[in-house]
Symmetry: C2
Subunit: 376 residues, 2 copies
């Protein structure tokens, strides 16, 4: 969609730079890819090109007007025309139609999105851990003790099996050590620098190019219908804020995530906020509805997730009166992405899947429901 | 302003209901309060009322157009034309003017406001404590133990001296007991019910009518210039959210405050969030910049407070590069409101005042800078 708009914009810019074509050739130019004989026809039969010109100019203006009004194309163009897509559209129409019994005023149209596995990929491990690993390697010269202490020693040696052996405790320790001891602004820059250069080990893409095109369309579609879109992620809030605005159009104040303790400091008369080692809040499972209440203070009416970590957010979202929407992304496309669910270490989808089935929530099959996975 | 707009609207509605006046009398009607001889003059000198009609109709249409465009009046009409008002306008013009070296893109125009003493009054004590006292009295029958336990016994007897003797610890205990053991939605309703009926002991007004008219104008003025306005208060976040949207036009997700721990629960298959007794976060002093970072994740460029509890928020706001604005409301109007500063138990303004003087922050004299205090 953005790409298409950019092309139209580029075309328009190109036209404005090139000398103004004579009146006859403008229509022909627009159509010459499909009607290469237009120019010669124009010269031979003067009455036909006038008609061509009129029709093509009208069509051109009509298309331009449609583009300008956002009717250029299906807003969910990367979705196949299946039940998943239709359930979302039906919900949005119910809550936005004035006079409908399910109408919800715009300020109350709150939609919450998990990040890892819902808006972008999460394999072979959460991207934030890949950042922590790269950052630990970069900081190693300042920490000679890491050469012998686990999990750092394994990370420095590139021994992923050794890191895996350190388990959740090891990953937490690695995250804490690489996400503290600097100001929030310094950390923000460190994440931005990493995202600008690091590449995904399997796809070779930048991590911000591993976002799901169909979900980008959902974000834009909901915002176009007066929704406020929030991220509610188990990932670190400062990590996600470093790219959410540019990548998803979600400003920092609409990102909720896990966080470490912070400390306000005056150094040489200058104020700063330091990131401390201690964990403050884990925005996962029960933490998600609590994070939502703490930050938003309003009941979401739509929620999007992909794993058991999102179950409580979906339960809370669907608990209110009126129309509610809950969606789970099921990773079942080993060819174009990854296939994993009930027994996966990352993004386990088990209890939430059962509850979705029982309650009629929308379960997206990436394989069947999505035309494309990543932006082209 | 709203009152004036309503009157114009009422007038317009009235005009549409009454039979259409003849052409000569429309101009006269509009002016008959000031020119009662208009009708007779019209009959005697036909050329004069045509002129009156033309001028008055033009003027009427001009005023209507101005109203419709929001240029009806000074957006800061309740402010005297002093340095305080001019410093705010100068700042807003600097950061909103395209091409200005101090231009700030709209999404980064974050303004934070303290609540007690900055947006509404805080004497004879924080209004939230008055709510806690009323709620303790209402809940007393369910708590026979309160008849003998302090500070509850004093509250039930209406012994304010006894309550004062219980000190900060007593107030905290009272607040915890009256702000927990119910869901967030039940608490929200309890606050709304109280605000709908309770009256301020001195003014006899509803508490939501004890807001500062000049500050309401600042909120509207900033939002009209692309700012996002946030409350950053030491008061309880759930308490403020119950009225902030209706009273200030600030939605719940833009209210940051102190909070207690929350618990997500499923009861009979229905999800709810319980308010627990334990304090989770105190959004005061050092807590304010931390609350801002945690909830907004972006550096404010303007901050408004009235006490030493706001100092760190103002330090953090003014720490960034580019144009920044910091304002303190000084309560120096014993006649129209209250006068208190360096030695006050509530809303103490001492260190922050000194720093404001040293750094050239704006210090508002309620007496000299504000034409009116409360909405009429």
């Amino acid at each position: 969609m953005e790409e298409r708009l950019r092309r139209v914009h580029d075309n328009a810019a190109e036209h404005s730079r090139t000398p103004r074509p004579d009146k006859l050739s403008l229509g022909c130019r627009l159509f010459e890819r499909w009607y290469p004989t237009c120019h010669s026809a124009a010269r031979v039969q003067p009455r036909v090109p006038v008609l061509v010109k009129m029709v093509s100019t009208s069509l051109f203006l009509f298309l331009l007007a449609m583009l300008a009004n956002g009717y250029a194309a299906d807003p969910l163009a990367s979705w196949n025309d299946t039940a998943s897509k239709n359930s979302l559209i039906a919900f949005v129409e119910r809550v936005t139609k004035t006079g409908s019994p399910d109408f919800v005023p715009a300020p109350e149209r709150i939609a919450t999105f998990d990040n890892d596995g819902t808006l972008w990929a999460e394999q072979p491990m959460y991207f934030q851990f890949l950042f922590a690993i790269d950052r630990a390697k970069a900081l190693a010269p300042q920490h000679p003790e890491w050469q012998t202490n686990e999990p750092f020693a394994s990370v420095i040696k590139g021994d992923m099996k050794g890191l895996a052996a350190a388990g959740v405790k090891g990953m937490l320790e690695l995250t804490e050590a690489t996400h503290s001891g600097l100001t929030t602004e310094e950390f923000d820059q460190a994440v931005k620098d990493w995202l600008a250069t690091a590449k995904h080990p399997k796809s070779g893409r930048r991590y911000t190019e591993m976002v799901y095109q169909p979900m980008l369309e959902v974000l834009t579609y909901l915002r176009g219908n007066g929704f406020k879109t929030f991220i509610v992620s188990g990932g670190g809030v400062d990590f996600i804020r470093a790219f959410a605005e540019k990548t998803y159009g979600i400003p920092p104040e609409q990102v909720i995530g896990s966080s470490g303790k912070l400390k306000f400091e005056m150094r040489d008369g200058k104020a700063g906020i330091m990131k401390l080692t201690e964990v403050d809040f884990i925005d996962d499972k029960d933490g998600k509805p609590i994070g939502i209440q703490s930050h938003i203070g309003r009941h979401p009416i739509a929620a999007f997730g992909n794993s058991d970590g999102d179950l409580q957010m979906l339960q809370w979202t669907t608990a209110g009166a009126g129309a509610r929407f809950a969606l789970l992304v099921h990773h079942d496309d080993a060819e174009r992405e990854w296939a994993y669910d009930r027994t996966s270490q990352i993004g386990k989808l088990d209890k939430a899947w059962d509850e979705a089935t029982a309650k009629g929530w929308t379960v997206v099959s990436m394989k069947a429901d999505w035309k494309t996975i990543f932006p082209k």
